[in-house]
């Protein structure tokens, strides 16, 4: 009898131990918390404003920004990227739309820098890459987006001729399949056939969709649609891209298209697939902390730029659900992921108080760092993502 009782107790004890080991193991190894925080619109706006302050403080009088900076050594690491310059100009015009002080002036100065590099190309105009025999198209595409944003913010049409010229150049880069050549050859005044960029295609798509929105009736919509169809159906296979491109610019393009027409089923399906690419990255990024344990089980935290692109992607999908009544049922979950990314960005940004611990606070406050280094696009993508999260968190924005 005694032996039987002991045996039953032992069995119960073993069952309890199994439960405890199981729950602890699953929590530690598989179900790590996604530390998104509960960020508010006010906090997001404040973070965006601090980023604008960084961009104003770190812009030279000719419009060029500090590109790459080591905070620990207080050292300018040099380098520059024209496409990112144009992207940052877009982010700042968006900040101007949100009423953030200094943003419009900094963006206009960024546009002055780009204007000095305009050349005739492909039946229109393009942003030149001095010294390169083949000019990348990214800066031209993102400047269209930026100037389009400026037009939407200010209502001024002073850049319309330039916008049309840039649009014609981008159209000349589209191949019959809808693929977009990443470079324009200066010598032949033609696209470089068979050369494709992971992101320039989506940037051109967004740019041409935006042109259709602000300058309708000039054929830009048809060009955007050709690229959009290629992105949705063919790009990853045709360009042998695996895993499929995490293309936040394509997500921008889909949302932009929804401003002037409802999306097709093909486009809806593509939006869902993009969400399926952004989602796991957001959830994984949210599990990463600076702790010893998560470094070993989840890796180090991603770049500010990486986090920002995820925010841009999911907010674009959310915007799509607001504009297109027939869009996939992504609103709630896209809002959840957008809020999560914003929470991570706010938490990881160096605020003005933290910046005081560094040698040169003005070059640190408002920026995102990895291994003590920040790069211009860390601020570009995060700023855009933060601003696009504002209406998600506060419908009154």
């Amino acid at each position: 009898m005694e032996q039987h009782r002991n045996s039953v107790q032992q069995r119960i004890r073993l069952g309890v131990i199994t439960w405890v080991v199981f729950l602890v193991g699953v929590r530690l190894l598989i179900l790590q918390p996604e530390r998104c925080g509960n960020v508010t619109a006010a906090e997001v706006r404040a973070a965006a404003a601090t980023t604008v302050d960084w961009l104003v403080a770190n812009q030279a009088s000719d419009g060029e920004w500090l590109y790459r900076y080591d905070a620990d050594a207080d050292r300018n690491l040099g380098g520059y990227n024209t496409t990112r310059h144009a992207g940052l100009t877009f982010s700042l015009y968006s900040a101007a739309d949100a009423g953030l002080a200094g943003a419009l002036q900094a963006a206009d100065l960024g546009s002055v820098w780009l204007r000095e590099r305009v050349i005739e190309a492909g039946g229109g105009v393009a942003v030149d890459e001095p010294g390169a025999s083949a000019v990348p198209i990214g800066a031209s595409a993102l400047w269209v987006v930026a100037l389009g944003e400026r037009r939407l913010v200010t209502g001024e049409n002073i850049h319309d001729e330039l916008l049309v010229g840039l649009g014609r150049f981008l159209e000349s880069q589209i191949e019959p399949s809808g693929a977009v050549s990443e470079r324009w050859d200066r010598g032949s005044d033609r696209l470089v056939s068979g050369a494709y960029s992971e992101f320039f295609t989506g940037e051109a798509y967004f740019a041409l969709a935006r042109l259709e929105r602000i300058l309708p009736g000039q054929g830009f919509g048809a060009s955007a649609d050709r690229i959009g169809r290629y992105l949705a159906l063919d790009r990853d296979d045709a360009e042998d891209r695996f895993p499929p491109v995490s293309d936040h610019w394509a997500a921008y393009g889909l949302a932009e298209t929804a401003f002037w027409r409802p999306l097709s089923q093909v486009e809806h399906d593509y939006a869902v697939r993009l969400g399926d690419i952004f989602g796991p990255q957001v959830r994984y990024a949210a599990q990463r902390t600076e702790s010893w344990f998560t470094h070993r089980t989840r890796g180090r935290q991603t770049l500010g730029a990486g986090l920002g692109t995820l925010g841009e992607g999911v907010t674009s999908l959310w915007l799509l659900t607001q504009l297109d009544p027939g869009s996939p049922d992504l609103e709630e979950v896209a809002a959840e992921r957008a809020s999560c990314v914003a929470g991570l960005m706010v938490e990881r940004q160096i605020d003005p108080v933290e910046a005081m611990e560094f040698k040169n606070p003005a070059r640190v406050a408002g920026a995102w760092f990895q291994f003590g280094v920040t790069q211009m696009d860390d601020q570009q993508h995060t700023l855009s993502a933060l601003l696009r999260t504002l209406p998600v968190l506060d419908p009154a924005v």
Partner: protein
Amino acid sequence: MSVLLAVLLLVTAHNPPRRRAELTNRPQVILAGGALTLAVLVILGGAGDSILDALDISAPTLRVAVGLVLAARGLLDLARRLPVPGDGLDGMKGAIVPVFFPVLLRPELALAAVSVAVDGGLGAMTFGAAVALGLVPAVPRRYCRVLSVVASTLLVALAVDRIIDGVFAL
């Protein structure tokens, strides 16, 4: 998540033939233990969203975790012999030990039930769990081995589906 998938997932996660092999109790006792287990699973399922919120876990991440755990469970069961009955309380008390605990109320079943409740609704989870638990006394002892292999094989396939569904989700 469809009701059919909910039922299949919970039945295979529970693996009634293996549970039957562990129990020598009378069918009424097993059903009573099953009812207790179902009650706990319904409570857990009903609290599923709150549990996820409290632990900062998203539904797709839980889906991945369930897939990983169930895949491991399925492969382990395929590699192991059927369990043998252990000691427990006599008579109707046996519905508590060993039927309810530790045989029927298992952590992998609880985890799967929470996930099914979050993804497919409490109704689907309750129905699926009731089927899974109700099948235990109905499994003929002589078919436990072969049916267990079938359930474990299907479980691995469903677990892979859960992982894919969880990874590729916004």
